[in-house]
């Protein structure tokens, strides 16, 4: 894909970026060794299917999104909470303050969650979200994306991010994606279409692997280029 000149800046970042140094944790082990506890009592197998939360079927293109969550040493992040939220197929959130001129879908709320398995794998069944207009700049449109939240084995691995779809022409124009200034890093936010994940006459499959950072990983890299 040809990348046009950088899109306009993401306005909300201006006043919401730290200006001073971050607070230093005196005992790094406190955040490196433990994190919030989630278990089968909080999360069930049904929570990962966003197409079965209402009495009817949501409108849109049914997709499976799966991938492995690993740390920077490649070790699977097991049994940790993954949360997903998104617009419906028309590009509207089931949120009162989203007044984008697109219809709500009574059969789609657009949030789900699951736990990673022993391999670090998460899986969601959902529908492909739509692009939507926003007011960052004139004629601003966000590419279709899935919001993700990951808990690691330690709170320092906490990650909130967004997944994009391959081949989307809006990727080159999106200030939020381009708030990540490194092109290779941006590419890590784009899923791959995986035909082996597609289920005949049912759904299309996307694969998106995730790597969680953390202070231990940073220490591991001390002295190396980053």
């Amino acid at each position: 894909m040809t990348i046009a000149p950088s899109p306009p800046p993401y306005r909300s970042l201006e006043l919401r970026t730290p200006r001073g140094p971050l607070v230093q944790v005196r005992d790094p082990e406190a955040v490196e060794l433990t994190g919030p506890v989630f278990g089968v009592t909080d999360v069930t197998a049904l929570d990962g299917d966003l197409t079965r939360q209402h009495t009817g079927e949501p409108i849109g293109e049914r997709i499976t999104v799966t991938g492995r969550v690993r740390d920077r040493q490649g070790r699977p992040v097991r049994g940790q909470l993954v949360e997903l939220w998104q617009t419906n197929a028309a590009g509207r959130y089931a949120h009162r303050r989203d007044q984008h001129a697109a219809p709500l879908d009574p059969n789609f709320t657009g949030c789900g969650r699951c736990l990673t398995d022993d391999d670090g794998t998460y899986t969601f069944t959902t529908i492909r979200p739509g692009a939507y207009a926003w007011r960052n700049h004139d004629n601003a449109w966000r590419p279709a994306h899935l919001h993700f939240s990951f808990f690691g084995t330690a709170f320092a691995q906490r990650l909130v991010t967004q997944m994009y779809f391959p081949g989307d022409p809006l990727l080159a124009l999106d200030p939020v994606l381009h708030s990540v200034t490194d092109e290779a890093a941006r590419a890590r936010l784009v899923a791959a279409y995986d035909h082996d994940l597609s289920v005949p006459e049912w759904s299309l499959g996307y694969r998106w692997d995730v790597v969680l950072d953390g202070p231990s990983a940073t220490l591991f890299e001390e002295g190396g280029a980053r």
Partner: protein, 128 residues
């Protein structure tokens, strides 16, 4: 050359997480009726000093005995309807989540964390 295990970048939580991330009872890390429960509250401001009405805070802390083991129960769902069910009213989970309100204000109810800040304790895995 990006390493095979280069970290996934973060992106904004966006303004529209309210239907997904907060849960009923999210700020009640400790039961309100517990005699030692304290309230901690504050405001989130942006760089211009204006309140941030769409921030989300997460709190993860040790128990009064210094344990960081935590407990499930902060994000329960009703097994019948699948809707958020809130907490059980008994368990200290060590984890809470609270969105700011229209004034940028947030409040949590919890137990004081054990020991000096970030200290190790006999019940913590860090000490073994």
């Amino acid at each position: 050359m990006p390493a095979p295990h280069a970290p996934t970048p973060s992106q904004t939580v966006g303004p529209f997480f309210g239907h997904a991330l907060p849960a009923p009872g999210g700020p009640e890390i400790a039961p309100l009726a517990h005699p030692d429960t304290i309230t901690l509250h504050g405001y989130v401001y942006d760089g211009a000093g204006d309140p941030v009405h769409d921030a989300l805070l997460e709190i993860w802390q040790p128990a009064p005995d210094g344990s960081r083991a935590g407990a499930p129960g902060s994000l329960r769902r009703d097994p019948v309807t699948g809707r958020p069910a809130g907490r059980d009213g008994v368990t200290f989970t060590g984890f809470g989540r609270v969105p700011t309100d229209a004034d940028g204000h947030w409040a949590i109810h919890t137990l004081p964390p054990g020991g000096a800040p970030y200290c190790r304790s006999p019940s913590s895995p860090a000490a073994s």
